[in-house]
Amino acid sequence: MDLSRRGFLQAAALTAAASGLTVACGGGSGSGGTKNGKNLTLWYWGGALSDKVVAEARTHFAGEAKLTVASIGGDFKQKLTTTLAAGSSVPDITGIKGEDMASFLPNAARFLDLNDLGFKQISSQYLGWKTKLAQTSDGKQIGFPIDIGPTALFYRADQFEKAGLPTDPDKVAAAAKTWDDYFALGTELKKKVPGTYLVNNISSVFTMAVGQGTKRFIDKNNHFIGDQDHIRAAWTTAIRPYTLGLDAKINDNSWNAAIGKSLTTELGAAWHALDIEQAAPATKGTWRVCAMPGGPANQGGSYLALPRQCRNPEEAFKIISWILSPANDARGFTDAAIFPAAPAAYSMPAMTGPDAFFGGQKIIEVFGPAAQAIPDSYEAPADAAVMAPYMTELTNVEAKGKKPDDAWKDAVSQARQIAQRQGVS
């Protein structure tokens, strides 16, 4: 091969240009821009924050910083992970979904410790169990709580009346105090009003029952505890409605059509009220809500976090603590059904009004106490992955009639395998 000098130079220039291009693309990593920048970007997904409050924040802080807001669609966690890993174009403020928080905690160094910026002084305004879920074992605070998802029991009061059951929320709550009471109530209901079911599927019961405890699938010492009594008990609870014939076995997208028709009760978080309202507008006024059997659990809810590359941490913290102040948090509830993580908001007029969908019931009287009674639990980074096989096996029981005991054994062995893969001992 006769490589001429000219050709060599051209090739070299091309290579240099190409590598220059890559360097330029990867630029801006590391410390990431200047501190005390005036430009701040905020990433969140549709419905994570009240758009009105965010828009007001932009004008409110206009003199100090220019807040650029990006509504990120699709797989939010994936996009955030990729951006953080690449180290460039990282947002200054970002949302993190509650269910993803655990998986970000091992990489807490990618985020700023909010305690350094003043969260410590105001943290008492927010629910302790929620705050703790975004805390590393050495006390670094990664996430600023936006909202939570306290769960309750939704039910059709008119159907309850037809069945001769109590309809008043307090009385229903008393009649369905434990899971067994609740299933007994369901059996009664089914006898009187045929064709109705108590729960949409048993995986949802399992999720709730696990969430009512303080321990989940992996303990703080990174040991797998998914085979222990607390999980077994949740499993047994989930199987009960199946054996009693109270399970609607809805594992596809037909929930929308079933709710309010064959589904007369529903276990769900506060934000779930909106789903019911949208899926079954005709049942307006017939629904009530009361405390969940066996105590409240949490489902969903998110955080705001400041990535390490944040260009102006002090200003960014000022903005998020303004957006998430109890008063603005309460407005999030009115605007976007975001249930505040700040208990002070629960007594504000925005939240204490009667809800027409629930026949004028003041639903905060159910969700407010529930929010504060949610147990402190530890959620390991691999928790969601380890939980998945239990859900799968529960659908196996529903769809294929698999024996519950076999399903339990398979779920545990599968969960143990996933735990092992994820580095849990």
Binding site: D2, S203, A388, E398, R421
Partner: protein, 324 residues
């Protein structure tokens, strides 16, 4: 093509011989002297290098690591593959993928061939039929999946409603393990029949009409003509579609993902009993939902090997009998 090097005459008829002594050898031009041409085609290769070539080999590297996507990578050797070997869900996903692939590819290719033959003999509205049959392929998979999900819904679907009118009790399309696969296969058949039909149609139009005329004179009916003439002549084209369908069909991902992701309690696990969990869906779930990138990479590389084996087997089967 022969003129590209500037040599006179068609190159393949020129005898190779050493140039007579004393003559000046023609100056050979190195590949680098074509730098302008290379520069012109370089964007594709640069993009390919950055977004296809590099990720492919990076994923091979990842298959030997434990990585959560953000933290430090840890070299674990063949551990991911050992996990894979013992993972019943992986094997379940491979079985699912193969069943769905067979259930969709066979009717797709057969249907495409039949439709192409029919369309080939149609005289009026040719363009309309072609477009009508090709449209499913350019519709968004997501939209089609949502549509199928609604049509085949267990409790409130259109199909079950129609069955109910005739007096047949509802069929659990989206919860029975076999019916789940059938619905996904049906969806893929619906999407890909038109695509293969266009390819077959192109092939059919290249067959000289004299052969058919001769067959007609000899008294061959349409069915016999199809099996004795059309099929043998089309063999290379069928081979091509079989290979392409193998690669496409084994990569089914969006169909089960959209059909079953709406169930928030069990998102992306492939529906009840994981009956719709294809290998690529399992890969996606492992890597991007469980943040287990090393394991995800191991899954796809193991699956790559499997696809290669299947393509070779397919090739062999379709090629067989060609020599006889």
């Amino acid at each position: 093509m022969p003129g590209r090097l500037g040599g006179p005459g068609p190159a393949r008829f020129r005898p190779r011989r050493t140039p007579p002594a004393g003559s000046v050898p023609p100056r050979r031009r190195g590949p680098l002297s074509y730098w302008r041409q290379y520069l012109a085609i370089s964007p594709f290769y640069l993009v390919f290098l950055a977004f296809s070539f590099f990720p492919v080999f990076y994923s091979l590297y990842l298959a030997f690591q434990h990585w959560d996507g953000l933290g430090t990578m840890r070299f674990v050797g063949l551990q991911q593959f050992r996990f894979l070997w013992k993972d019943p869900v992986f094997w379940l996903s491979v079985r699912n993928t193969l069943v769905i692939w067979v259930l969709s590819t066979v009717p797709t290719l057969f249907g495409a061939l039949v439709l192409a033959t029919l369309l080939h003999s149609v005289r009026r509205f040719k363009g309309f039929y072609r477009i009508a049959l090709y449209v499913p392929n350019v519709t968004s998979i997501v939209a089609v999946s949502i549509f199928f999900g609604a049509v085949f819904s267990d409790n409130f679907g259109l199909v079950n409603a129609i069955l109910g009118m005739v007096g047949i009790s509802p069929v659990p399309w989206l919860s029975n393990p076999w019916l789940i696969k059938l619905v996904i296969a049906l969806l893929m058949t619906w999407m890909w029949t038109g695509y293969n039909m266009i390819i077959y149609l192109a092939g059919l139009q290249a067959i000289p009409t004299q052969i058919y005329e001769a067959a007609k004179l000899d008294g061959a009916g349409p069915v016999r003509t199809f099996f004795q003439i059309t099929l043998p002549v089309m063999r290379p084209i069928i081979l091509f579609t079989v290979v392409i369908s193998t690669i496409n069909g084994l990569q089914s991902f969006s169909e089960p993902q959209v059909l079953f992701a709406s169930n928030a309690a069990n998102a992306n696990l492939g529906g009840p009993g994981q009956a719709g969990l294809t290998t690529l869906l399992y890969f996606y779930q492992s890597a991007f939902l469980n943040n287990d990138y090393g394991y995800g990479a191991a899954i796809v590389w193991a699956f790559f090997v499997l696809i290669m084996v299947l393509v070779v087997v397919n090739w062999r089967i379709v090629q067989r009998g060609r020599k006889s």
